[in-house]
């Protein structure tokens, strides 16, 4: 942007220095302001700022505000509601289900991120080997990524169905687990049912990012390591992993954020049930706000989650800042 502004500047001066600088000069310079980028720069920055404020900052601030106020259905349209300080926070955190939801959220995020990363990495390494059809197969994996969460939830609900689901019959055929598992209606497994679906959903993204990271590692490093006497495992340990540090850091941060945003699968599969056995913070927040109309409570959870996301995002930014090793 800066460069284009500078390079066309002399051109504009040349135009106004023509022997007859009449009305056309005026028109040209206004037009030029946009064409050579300066006016356009400002406009683009302004648009972005407006967008961020209206759709990013304002809702967050409004949520924070509501978490500090007493809100009910009748005061929804008002800003001037009674302030209650941190009473909402105390209230939400001392509810009987709070500890359980926090634990579920932690399990859901940790399992999802870890499994997505490991499986995504394995697939990325697999597709790194150039075999015929690698490109097409990798492309097919991305299909999972473009499907709406609710659809994915529906598919997994069928696959995990207790009586005639594909997963149960596979487990029976392979004698891994001959009796039926009622994945979504058994409180012991409901959270894992959603987690499995979420892992499946997140693998393509992980694979894609890791593939990009792997492709960026110069081939000659592996060749040098080979000549230095490193076998495949050693090369992975001492070249691949350290070279992927920035990518891995960024990916874990992004995965945590995406997993904390995962709502559709819960809506599509278990509705957080049975009896909160698969309830997580993001779904609980929605339940409080839009099912029980405890909007202050829902906002409070949302604010707590925003705090976590900001923390993770900070880590992400840190890890991308160190991306240039080499």
């Amino acid at each position: 942007m800066k460069i284009s502004g500078q390079t066309s500047r002399p051109g504009r001066i040349a135009v106004s220095a023509l022997p007859d600088p009449t009305a056309s000069t005026m028109r040209l310079s206004v037009f030029d302001t946009f064409r050579d980028g300066r006016g356009l720069d400002a406009l683009l920055v302004l648009l972005t700022l407006v967008y961020l404020i209206v759709f990013g900052l304002a809702p967050i601030l409004y949520t924070v505000l509501m978490s500090l106020q007493q809100v009910d259905m009748f005061t929804l349209g008002d800003f001037s509601r009674p302030f209650v300080g941190f009473a909402n926070y105390v209230d939400v955190l001392t509810r009987p289900e709070a500890g359980m939801v926090a634990r579920h959220t932690l399990v859901f995020v940790a399992l999802s991120v870890a499994c997505q990363l490991v499986l995504g990495f394995a697939l990325a390494l697999f597709f790194q080997q150039d075999f015929p059809g690698a490109g097409i197969m990798r492309g097919l994996f991305l299909a999972a990524w473009i499907m709406p969460g609710l659809v994915v939830g529906g598919i997994w609900r069928w696959m995990l169905a207790g009586d005639n689901g594909v997963v149960n019959s596979l487990l029976a055929v392979t004698h891994l687990h001959p009796t039926k598992i009622f994945w979504m209606s058994d409180p012991a497994t409901s959270l894992y049912a959603v987690t499995i679906a979420n892992i499946w959903l997140g693998i393509p993204f992980n694979m894609l990012l890791l593939s990009v990271g792997l492709a960026a590692i110069p081939k000659d490093l592996y060749e040098a390591a080979q000549l230095d006497g490193a076998g495949p495992v050693e090369r992975f340990r001492s070249i691949t992993l350290p070279m992927m540090r920035a990518t891995l850091g960024a990916l874990v941060s992004l995965s945590v954020i995406f997993t904390l945003q995962q709502f559709d699968l819960f809506a599509g599969m278990t509705q957080g049930g049975p009896s909160n056995s698969s309830n997580v913070a993001q779904f609980w927040s929605w339940q409080l706000s839009f099912q029980t109309y405890d909007i202050a409570g829902g906002s409070t959870i949302a604010v707590l989650m925003i705090a976590v996301v900001i923390g993770v995002a900070t880590l992400y930014v840190r890890s991308t800042r160190h991306e240039q090793i080499g």
Partner: protein, 367 residues
């Protein structure tokens, strides 16, 4: 340790990159592989290293057949054009990596790294990361990583091509010194014939996946076996002009020239179309006698010590270098002489040298 290549072939799919390469590198020799871009120099080096599978033929290092062995069982070290330093390791870690993989203990690694660093003047840089080094320093670290292992063979793939001209000349000398001090066996790839001529004991000229000629540097210069080698070795390149043998068989005339005959150092059948080769540095300004022809000054350049004169001879371009200054202007006529013994003659069809066939056995192919 000696390296022996026997009928080595390399195919990339349908592309035949190396066509029956025979090469013997005695222990302690410095061998340079030269040739134009894409002729297979790097491929040959990488097959010796084990980074490319050998399609056919055998490779022996120190007498052992290593054709099918992976790189780490060949005990060769390679210096890459890009240096390929591990960016996340310090200089010391880069150099010690191979030793660590051999499970040497920490003190041994530190000691050997120190020794190698001292050899290359890297002591002060051991704690730095590659990104904190200049190009020349990186080059040294890449060297250090190779010598610290004390390998059987050193392989270099255009290691100096990323350095500026002055440093390149300096490193040439240093590299050769290092080779002598370590009593190493080295194979050195370059596309710069001057590097090859100045550094190597034995030069291998490659062309399109084959060895065109190999031998001692000055032998290649004095007796190029083909027009290709003649044009490749020597700078500026040899002047090669089409000519025809005179009815007497003892002289030749440049095609398109009315002018005088160039006397030949041997007898050839009259009327045979040939290529006449004369090195720019073998041409001189002539007063009288000897073989001579007329030219017109077309362009003149001087570096102070050397004068490059571009001439038009019978509407063909020719270059002459003189080790002194010259006071002429463009368009001046000039009489040029040379010693008939310096004349190279190639067959027009096969482009093979006709002189070497008489004077010395051809050294192309099997050594």
């Amino acid at each position: 340790m000696q390296i022996t290549l026997d009928g080595l072939q390399k195919h990339y799919g349908t592309y035949h990159a190396l066509k029956s390469i025979d090469l013997a590198v005695p222990a302690g020799q410095f061998v340079a592989l030269v040739g134009p871009s894409g002729c297979g120099k790097s491929t040959l080096l990488r097959t010796i290293a084990g980074l490319e599978a050998i399609s056919a033929g055998t490779l022996r290092i120190a007498g052992e057949d290593v054709t099918r062995r992976p790189p780490r069982q060949r005990d060769v070290a390679m210096v890459f054009q890009s240096y390929a330093l591990y960016p996340h390791m310090t200089v010391a870690e880069n150099m010690g990596y191979a030793l660590k993989l051999r499970r040497l203990n920490r003190t041994d690694i530190a000691r050997r790294t120190q020794v190698a660093a001292a050899t290359l003047g890297l002591e002060a840089l051991l704690g730095r990361y590659p990104r904190e080094l200049s190009g020349g320093q990186r080059q040294r670290v890449a060297m250090g990583r190779a010598i610290v292992r004390d390998p059987k063979v050193f392989l270099f793939d255009e290691p100096l091509s990323n350095l500026d001209a002055a440093l390149r000349v300096h490193m040439r000398g240093e590299l050769r010194d290092l080779h002598d001090r370590l009593a190493a066996t080295s194979v050195y790839v370059t596309h710069d014939q001057i590097e090859a001529m100045t550094m190597a004991d034995h030069v291998v000229v490659m062309r399109a996946g084959r060895i065109e000629q190999q031998g001692r540097p000055l032998d290649l210069y004095d007796r190029p076996a083909s027009r290709f080698v003649a044009g490749f070795i020597g700078s500026p390149a040899m002047n090669i002009l089409p000519g025809t043998v005179d009815p007497s068989g003892r002289a030749a005339r440049l095609d398109g020239a009315e002018g005088p005959l160039l006397s030949l150092p041997m007898l050839l059948e009259p009327g045979r179309p040939v290529l006449l080769g004369l090195r720019p540095e073998h041409l001189r300004l002539s007063q009288e006698g000897g073989a001579r022809f007329d030219g017109v000054v077309d362009h003149i350049e001087s570096t102070g010590s050397t004068t490059f004169v571009k001439l038009k001879v019978a509407s063909q371009a020719m270059v002459m270098t003189l080790a002194r200054r010259l006071d002429v202007t463009l368009g001046d006529p000039m009489q040029i002489g040379f010693d008939p013994a310096d004349l190279h003659i190639f067959d027009r069809e096969s482009e093979a040298s006709l002189v070497t066939q008489r004077d010395a056995p051809p050294r192309a192919g099997r050594a």
